[in-house]
């Protein structure tokens, strides 16, 4: 399963590089007041363009059916919006303004920490990017990934919630000390490093929180704490900046006044941006997580009851979308996941024999099937309660049958072979799998 998360890591690395590429333009730090232009710096543009190009190319190359299942309008929109936000943060006049106003710089940081990363992460670009390569290249990327356990282990360690929490906190506090902050404004490379720190930690943070591939490393209760405690830190930092009685950062000293703000006011505004709007983003995220938590519990409970009744757990969601526009990010509207599946015309009783026939048991543990105790692939116990198939497709009959019949089409290069299953057999096997609660 590691091969699925691997592209995600690559994406993070590449986007981080895109960010780093803005070092050169940052050299233009001596910009005089009022000169706010677009930062048409080649590297930034090129990185963003490559990102978009890879995404689109990957999507185009993918089989339409698979694309529809793995992505969807919401994901495309999220990715596009994420790139758009990066564009605003790094290329629009905001980027030039950040040298002149502390508050503008904070706004830029908030975009890089709280807005662009969740959108990008939700867009599942890693998969699309992998697809931008030809099959052999995909394979070799996969092999490289699988064959480098040290890398894998290191990244897995870095992606542990505790590590992400500690690194995010550290990045937050470190870069807001006056020394490092002023240093970053003095030195373009350091400045790029600062943004890289924020952006990377934020990508890791949001991957854990949003779990775009459906497999939560961090359960919902812990996710709430995870988000809440980081939000609290940012709030405390914002409060300190808002209430400080003297200007702490001097890097903007010669430009702020021209904007009609005193140094102290600029600092207060920056503190408030970190405190209030950022606080609302964290609050909104927590609300989304909470609804998803209850929703998940509801889904499991209902599935467990094996009765296809409607559930009302989602009804609160509409109300709260008023509360928080961020709700759009949540996957709460996946109605499909709320009911268990009864496949019309299928004969689940044929399942065990078919599973034996196709040799599924060699790789998978399947309850109720003789000798099906393989450990190569994931065990299929309680399959009816799974949220995702292969960590990517929603667990519903169509997806399951498609996956059973042609796994290589859905997720090329994955370890599950095409077994030449007929449609009817797939139907019966799927029906059987759904009886596993």
């Amino acid at each position: 399963m590691q091969r699925l998360t691997m592209p995600a890591r690559w994406l993070q690395l590449l986007l981080a590089l895109a960010c780093a590429a803005r070092t050169a333009p940052a050299m233009a730090h001596g910009a005089t007041i009022g000169q706010l232009g677009w930062n048409w710096e080649g590297w930034v543009l090129a990185s963003l363009a490559v990102a978009v190009f890879g995404y689109v190319r990957g999507l185009l190359r993918m089989d339409a059916g698979a694309r529809e299942h793995v992505f969807g309008p919401g994901r495309y929109a999220a990715f596009a919006a994420g790139i758009g936000v990066l564009f605003v943060a790094l290329i629009s006049p905001l980027d030039a303004l950040d040298d002149q106003l502390f508050s503008a710089h904070m706004l830029q940081h908030m975009l890089l920490i709280l807005v662009a990363p969740p959108l990008l992460v939700w867009g599942r670009p890693a998969t699309a990017w992998l697809w931008a390569f030809e099959l052999p290249a995909r394979r070799s990327i996969g092999r490289f990934w699988m064959g480098a356990p040290g890398v894998q282990r290191g990244i897995r360690f870095l992606m542990r919630p505790l590590a992400v929490w500690v690194l995010s906190s550290f990045a937050l506090w470190f870069w807001h000390l006056p020394g490092p902050y002023d240093w970053a404004l003095d030195n373009a490379w350091v400045h790029a490093g600062e943004h890289l720190c924020f952006f990377l930690t934020a990508l890791a943070f949001w991957s854990l929180v949003l779990a775009p591939y459906g497999r939560r490393q961090l359960d919902y209760g812990s996710s709430l704490l995870f988000v809440g405690t980081l939000g609290m830190q940012m709030g405390l930092l914002g409060a300190i900046l808002t209430f400080a009685t003297r200007p702490v950062y001097l890097a903007h000293a010669h430009t702020t006044l021209a904007w009609g703000l005193s140094l102290l006011e600029d600092q207060q505004l920056a503190g408030l941006i970190m405190w209030v709007p950022a606080g609302l983003v964290y609050t909104g995220t927590m609300a989304v997580l909470f609804v998803a938590w209850l929703h998940d519990a509801e889904r499991k409970a209902v599935t467990a009851m094996r009765a296809g009744r409607r559930t009302r757990a989602l009804q609160g969601v509409g109300t709260l979308s008023l509360l928080l526009a961020v709700l759009a990010l949540s996957g709460c509207h996946d109605k499909a996941a709320t009911s268990p599946w009864q496949i019309s015309g299928a004969q689940p009783a044929r399942g065990p024999a078919l599973i034996q026939h196709y040799g599924c048991g060699t790789c998978h543990t399947v309850p109720g099937v003789a000798q099906a105790s393989g450990t190569v692939g994931p065990p299929l116990t309680q399959f009816g309660q799974r949220a995702y198939i292969a960590g990517m497709l929603h667990n519903n009959p169509d997806n399951l049958m498609m996956w059973l019949r042609d796994p290589q089409r859905v997720l090329p290069g994955n370890a599950m072979p095409n077994t030449g299953m007929t449609e009817r057999d797939a139907r019966d096997i799927a029906a059987y799998l759904y009886t596993l609660q």
């Binding site: 009685t245 009302r312 009804q315 609160g316 509409g318 109300t319 008023l322 509360l323």
Partner: protein, 339 residues
């Protein structure tokens, strides 16, 4: 029974009296541009609030009486529990309307906050207010140091001009508040807070410390006296002058009593008395009240206050004075020259 009725009738009468008669601290009506937009906003939010309460109350009553449940819960019928009857629409619609109202109120608030943050013109005058337990020291600053003077508890301001107040504390936290003219600002040791007020009508506006600051917090009032610019200038000139020299022997005796009993804490400009602990008394007789608004400034009150302040305002920093009759008379004679 009869007593009860009398009480009720009396209460009703005084209530109606209180509601319409003088409420000098009420900010339902204000008298200056620092107050007008706030008062309007306050009324607006108040009306919204009352409407919300009324609407919710009616909905509740409607819901309660629309359809009664079973009389007894042990009734088997009582257990035929209803499930859904479209209740979610209530939440959607209710929260939707509330949010719209909320956004409106929020925008209005932001506008008013911006409007009253600063006066529309440059303040003509800056008054330094220094709060202590439990009185207010005032210093009128102008460009020329020679025209700076001090006073206490009664702030004179010219009508129609914004006045800037810089407030500081010598001891604990107080709050500077003249409700008829605008909102309050806390007075916090170690920092100087700034606010502004403007009166559009001549008059006396009562103010009071609003943050609990110790035992006599309840009796730490102040008054803002708004005068026509001409009257204000006249008052200013009179305050700038030194206190008159004692003329009669009794008054001279009084000066000596003052020197020995009072001068450690109080200042009278033009005399040797230069204490800074209590209020400046150079023009004591020009003030309307004593002891931060506790007593009206009459000779009887003044004498009583001098001799036994602890009975008037227990805990006050001013100690009781042991003065003989003639000493007190002489002191009073002297003090009454301080116009």
């Amino acid at each position: 029974m009869k007593a009860g009725r009398t009480l009720l009738v009396g209460l009703a009468l005084t209530l109606s009296h209180d509601a319409w008669a003088a409420t000098p601290m009420s900010y339902l009506r204000t008298f200056g541009p620092a107050g007008y937009p706030v008062t309007r906003l306050g009324w607006g939010l108040g009306i919204i609030s009352v409407s919300v309460v009324v609407i919710v109350g009616l909905l509740l009553l409607g819901g309660i009486f629309r359809r009664r449940g079973p009389r007894r819960l042990s009734d088997p019928n009582a257990l035929a529990v209803r499930r859904d009857a479209g209740g979610m629409a209530w939440i959607y619609i209710g929260v939707g309307i509330s949010s719209l109202v909320l956004i409106g109120a929020m925008i209005w608030t932001l506008v008013v906050t911006a409007v009253v943050a600063h006066p529309s013109s440059r303040p003509a005058l800056t008054v330094q207010v220094s709060a202590s337990q439990w009185w207010w020291a005032l210093r009128y600053d102008t460009e020329q140091p020679s025209r700076t003077f001090t006073s206490a508890n009664e702030i004179h301001i010219p009508v129609g001009q914004p006045v800037r107040f810089e407030v500081t504390s010598t001891d604990v936290i107080h709050s500077f508040w003249v409700p008829k003219l605008g909102g309050k600002i806390d007075v916090i040791p170690g920092q100087t807070n700034v606010t502004w007020l403007q009166a559009d009508q001549p008059g006396v506006y009562r103010g009071q410390c609003a943050v609990f600051c110790g035992t006599e917090h309840a009796r730490m009032a102040l008054q803002v006296i708004a005068q026509s610019p001409a009257d204000f200038r006249a008052w200013q000139e009179s305050q700038l002058a030194d206190a008159p020299r004692p003329a009669t022997p009794e008054q001279q005796h009084g000066t000596r009593v003052f020197q020995s009993h009072c001068a450690a804490c109080h200042t009278i400009r033009g005399s040797n008395a230069g204490g800074l602990v209590g209020p400046d008394l150079s023009h004591l007789m020009s003030r309307r009240t004593l002891a931060a608004g506790v007593l009206s400034n009459t000779p009887g009150n003044l004498a009583g206050w001098i001799v036994h302040p602890q009975s008037v305002k227990p805990g006050s920093r001013m100690p009781d004075q042991t003065l003989s009759g003639p000493q007190l008379a002489a002191l009073m004679a002297y003090l009454q020259t301080l116009h």
